[in-house]
């Protein structure tokens, strides 16, 4: 039976959207019907001024905000970027985001940023390394952070842990949260022949801060996390399985390419609300 109340130790946010440039006008004009909160890409707002900062201030007037970064590079062996962290800390002070998230990945090495979310070898060495860095980041920001499972296309030889085991242990040891990207679970499980149900079962419910929903593309034998189309049926099913396991989940719908009119994405977000409700109802 699904827990009727959230098992997460993080605040319940409801249903939100990734804020993209195309939605700035609507999101700054006032609360957007059906959208409980917005997730913004941190790096887009690590700027000194101008329209981006104005947008953020205006949106914050009407809606809770989650900062979602792509350049923390928590898994890299380069030192953490102090200037970057100072920028994130300043944004946190200014906006009081409900959550601050990034990815379980690394983005560069030797000062050379690929601007991609690169996979980590799930070894004990990597786990200890990432735990130590998450602790550093949380100490710097003075708050818990949340890390997202990536979509991956390779797994490393010699891995000692599965991805969900790595995430669960990381969250426990570093006392951080998990951003469960349902589409990424589906993509990675398909690409590597993992069992998606077992993946979800390995995660600690209380650590799940929120979930992502997005679309992906089929590219030959691999699925690619493209965020350029609606959520696929298989991902909706997995989302409902997650709700049945974990109870109500703060949910964010992402679209980064082929960005549709806001009403279209709002309708898809309403579908998420309906799907979550049905999943909860079916187990009562």
């Amino acid at each position: 039976m699904a827990p009727s109340r959230s098992t997460s130790s993080f605040p319940q946010l409801g249903f939100g959207l990734g804020l993209r440039r195309e939605y700035y006008a609507a999101a700054t004009a006032g609360a957007v019907a059906g959208v409980d909160w917005f997730e913004v890409i941190t790096e887009n707002f690590l700027v000194e001024g101008g329209n981006p900062r104005r947008v953020l201030r205006d949106v914050r007037e009407h809606s809770p905000i989650v900062l979602h970064g792509v350049s923390l590079s928590i898994g890299s062996t380069d030192p953490l970027d102090a200037a970057y962290l100072a920028g994130v800390a300043a944004l946190c002070s200014e906006l009081s985001p409900v959550l601050v998230s990034d990815h379980l990945c690394w983005t560069g090495l030797g000062g050379h940023n690929t601007h991609d979310l690169l996979p980590l070898p799930y070894t004990e060495e990597a786990l200890a390394h990432v735990v130590a860095r998450v602790t550093q980041v949380q100490d710097r920001l003075g708050r818990r952070i949340v890390l997202e499972n990536p979509s991956t296309y390779v797994t490393f030889a010699g891995a000692a842990l599965s991805e969900p085991e790595f995430l669960a242990e990381l969250a426990r040891r570093a006392d951080c949260g998990i951003l469960l990207d349902i589409n990424n679970v589906f993509v990675s499980c398909t690409n590597h022949g993992w069992d998606a149900a077992a993946y979800l079962a390995a995660l600690p419910a209380e650590r799940i801060a929120y979930v992502h929903l997005a679309g992906h593309t089929v590219n030959g034998a691999l699925l690619i996390d493209t965020h350029d189309m609606p959520v696929r049926d298989e991902v909706w099913s997995l989302y409902q399985a997650a709700v049945r396991s974990f109870g109500p989940l703060s949910t964010c719908l992402e679209r980064d390419d082929n960005v549709p009119p806001l009403d279209e994405l709002r309708a898809e977000l309403a579908s998420a609300r309906t799907a979550a409700g049905a999943a909860l109802e079916a187990t009562r």
């Binding site: 790096e43 887009n44 690590l46 700027v47 000194e48 001024g49 101008g50 329209n51 981006p52 900062r53 104005r54 350049s71 590079s73 898994g75 890299s76 062996t77 970027d81 970057y84 690394w106 560069g108 090495l109 030797g110 000062g111 050379h112 940023n113 690929t114 601007h115 991609d116 690169l118 070898p121 070894t123 060495e125 990597a126 390394h129 296309y153 390779v154 797994t155 490393f156 030889a157 690409n191 590597h192 022949g193 590219n219 030959g220 034998a221 691999l222 690619i224």
Partner: protein, 241 residues
């Protein structure tokens, strides 16, 4: 050990080593290792090509920026957390590559527009601020450009080419022209203007901060001209309060 694995993977997907050198790091499964690694190698170049096309929309209409992306990344590997900085060296790269000068200058103009778009905010000096100023105080009036501004010296008609592409006209043929363009942000809108010759002479002083008296001296023209320029700058909102 971790650093070694990451370094070999990083080199392979960014072109620092053949893709196959990372083959032994990863599990094959049902898909060939090179196909798996290729997803990352492709994404690296494709993402940056997309950023360049976005940040240099006018330049992208003149030639295939994507075809240059791999060479650009080798010359200027991204080092900043923000994608905004990825294309910061494009003008220098195009010049060093020996391409026609108007390409590099158009890139410089487009880059300046990107930089002022989200540069620091500042209240502009307005006519109203000067209404109560005693005329004898005008020579000492401090004048400085708003912080979100850039001064671009051109040796070609890259500004005309920009204008033509913006208004969907056929761009003029490239020509040698000595010009100075001021790029700035008027509240939240990025604008630029090609300066008059005498105006161009005083703009460097305005960029670092000067006084109205010094502007008059630099212009070496009747006071009416200095006043006309001051009014133009006030109306353009390019001076900071």
């Amino acid at each position: 050990m971790l650093r070694d694995v990451l370094a070999r993977f990083h080199a392979a997907i960014t072109g620092g080593a053949p893709l196959g050198t990372a083959r032994e790091l990863i599990v094959r499964g049902d898909v060939d290792e090179l196909d798996r690694l290729g997803v990352y190698a492709h994404a690296y170049t494709a993402r940056i090509a997309g950023v360049l096309a976005h940040d240099y929309p006018k330049l992208a209409t003149l030639f295939d920026l994507a075809a240059l992306t791999s060479d650009y990344l080798r010359a200027h590997p991204p080092a900043h957390p923000s994608l905004r900085e990825v294309g910061a060296h494009l003008s220098r790269f195009l010049a060093a590559r020996g391409m026609a000068l108007h390409f590099a200058e158009l890139a410089a103009l487009e880059r300046a527009r990107t930089e002022v778009f989200d540069g620091p905010d500042a209240s502009p000096l307005a006519r109203g601020d000067l209404e109560s100023l005693d005329p004898v105080a005008f020579p000492a009036l401090p004048l400085a450009l708003v912080p979100s501004s850039r001064v671009i010296a051109l040796t070609t008609n890259a500004d005309d080419i920009w204008d033509a592409i913006e208004s969907e006209r056929e761009p003029p043929a490239p020509e040698a022209r000595d010009r100075v363009v001021l790029v700035w942000r008027r509240e939240y809108t990025v604008v630029h203007r090609t300066l008059d010759a005498d105006e161009a002479r005083v703009i460097p002083a305005l960029a670092t901060g000067t006084t109205f008296g010094d502007v008059c001296e630099l212009l070496d023209a009747p006071a009416e001209r200095a006043i006309a320029l001051l009014v133009r700058w006030l109306d353009a909102q390019c001076l900071r309060r």
